[in-house]
Symmetry: C2
Subunit: 305 residues, 2 copies
């Protein structure tokens, strides 16, 4: 998806999403992957409160605002992944995604675990990154789900944005035998406040690199989908791509605008990796991995004596 401006109505954005869904269906797609927070602009860049913030959240999924997308998908027999801001009945807020099958049924839900940004706003900065302020850490783990026959009974998993840079996310799905990972993202193309950091080319390289390597290391397909382009003066990378279990890119977006890419997903391509090189039961040594779950941050070794 191309950018969504703060002034864009939800209805306008939904029309774009339905148009993309229809184009994908016309090209034979049975599964469509939309980005993270697909229904709105990437609002964590703004310091908001009260109703101005709440308007970005969905209190249920589906709901009347998004029903036209669900209805059109069901009519076409196409399922989808979509990211949205979730506000629960108990008042909890999550950066979430759902996986909807071709009958319109939600078969899995995921809440983003790796929230970037900060709780406190950066004083004086024009653009913020306030995901840690607006969302709680995901509390559903990384659930893999076996889809129905529409999707060849694929074992499917979800991530959201920053999760894809953390090999732990992939491995927890890999340990459930995942065959297809769906990921939506909004990733900055540069520091919108003018800091001297990585450029869009390097950031796109990083995004693609982690999808390729982690797909290979878990012998899974991956579909990674950007919201891209300029949102109210803040740039987002593109680089949406479909990656096979060898880590090879089989389809890649070429623009920062609304664009459909499609690929045939042959799940049998997962077998070679899962049965040989990455036969986890035969080759993993969990007793050597303890630091991964015992420690969050770095503890450096002492000086050499």
């Amino acid at each position: 998806m191309g950018p969504t401006q703060r002034a864009d109505s939800r209805a306008h954005t939904l029309v774009r999403m339905i148009r993309l869904l229809e184009e994908a269906a016309s090209k034979g797609a049975r599964l469509v992957v939309f980005p993270e927070l697909a229904f709105t602009t990437f609002f964590p860049r703004w310091l908001l409160e009260g109703e101005a913030l709440d308007n970005y959240f969905d209190r249920s999924m589906p709901n009347p605002q998004v029903a036209p997308l669900f209805d059109r998908a069901r009519a076409l027999g196409v399922g989808f992944y979509v990211g949205y801001a979730e506000l629960t009945a108990e008042g909890q807020r999550f950066n979430s995604a759902v996986l909807v099958d071709g009958t319109g049924r939600i078969i899995s839900k995921y809440r983003k675990v790796h929230l970037p940004g900060s709780v406190a706003p950066r004083p004086g900065a024009k653009y913020q990154q306030l995901e840690k302020r607006y969302f709680e850490y995901g509390d559903l783990g990384f659930p893999a789900v076996r889809a129905g026959s529409d999707w060849q009974n694929a074992i499917m998993g979800m991530m959201i944005c920053n999760d894809r840079r953390w090999p732990e996310s992939w491995r927890v799905l890999g340990l459930q035998g995942v065959e297809l990972v769906c990921i939506g993202y909004n990733s900055a193309a540069y520091d919108p406040n003018g800091g001297n950091t990585e450029d869009a080319s390097l950031r796109t390289f990083h995004s693609t690199l982690v999808a390729q390597a982690n797909a290979y290391m878990n012998a899974t397909w991956a579909i990674t989908v950007a919201k891209a382009g300029d949102e109210d003066g803040s740039g987002l990378i593109g680089g949406s791509c479909i990656v096979d279990p060898n880590g090879r890119i089989v389809a890649k977006a070429t623009s920062l605008a609304d664009e459909v890419i499609v690929a045939d997903i042959d799940l049998d391509l997962c077998r070679q990796g899962k049965e040989k090189m990455f036969n986890f039961a035969a080759h993993r040594r969990p007793e050597q991995y303890r630091l991964i779950t015992e420690r969050a941050g770095v503890v450096e070794p002492p000086e050499l004596v």
Copy 2:
């Protein structure tokens, strides 16, 4: 390093290694990385026993056979990583590597954790992969060590061959703040028994991909070094490279023969990643990673009901 044939004497191979060391030193290198099992052919491809097997092992490191390499390195003030087959006084066998500083002192030792291959030989196969038969699983974990001032007090870690395909190896080092990972490997270029599997090009891509992505995801430099070419009719990939903490290749071997590649290692390039995107203490969520240490193999989700 290019290939080493079964008939090659250890003395002959040591002369090659010293020549490579001297060439690297003449180009300004302070650290030289040799491959896995660098002193011999990749002998796990052969079914061996008794003295024929023991001759490939070193009972101590250094020892009189390898002393000329240690002596020359110390004279040049150059340190090195080298892989060898270790036979302990208690009769244990490991696929090991040591890190030797510019004064000739061994500052760290590593024993390969991820052993590929099998215990039982493949009946009738011309070439075997018997690492699980000849070696015990490494029992030293993935220790990171802070090197001395010769190496800018870098936090350094080691892996051997197949370890590099397992993100757990990298993460355990990353959680110790690793800044430079040294890896030697012998990786098949194709199935030497004529099976229809990945070709050399795809295998080299995999080898490079995992080094790039895991270096990026742990904000570390990586030096990954092949023994390459045709060893007694069995092909090994090349693809030795030096990767920066952004996952970019800064130097890459172009041949399957003895070849020196060099790069300047600026450890400060690790800082951006370690302090922001991959600030582990701020962003990792170990409570969501439990499967990684609780489970070795895959458990698939149930059918959807």
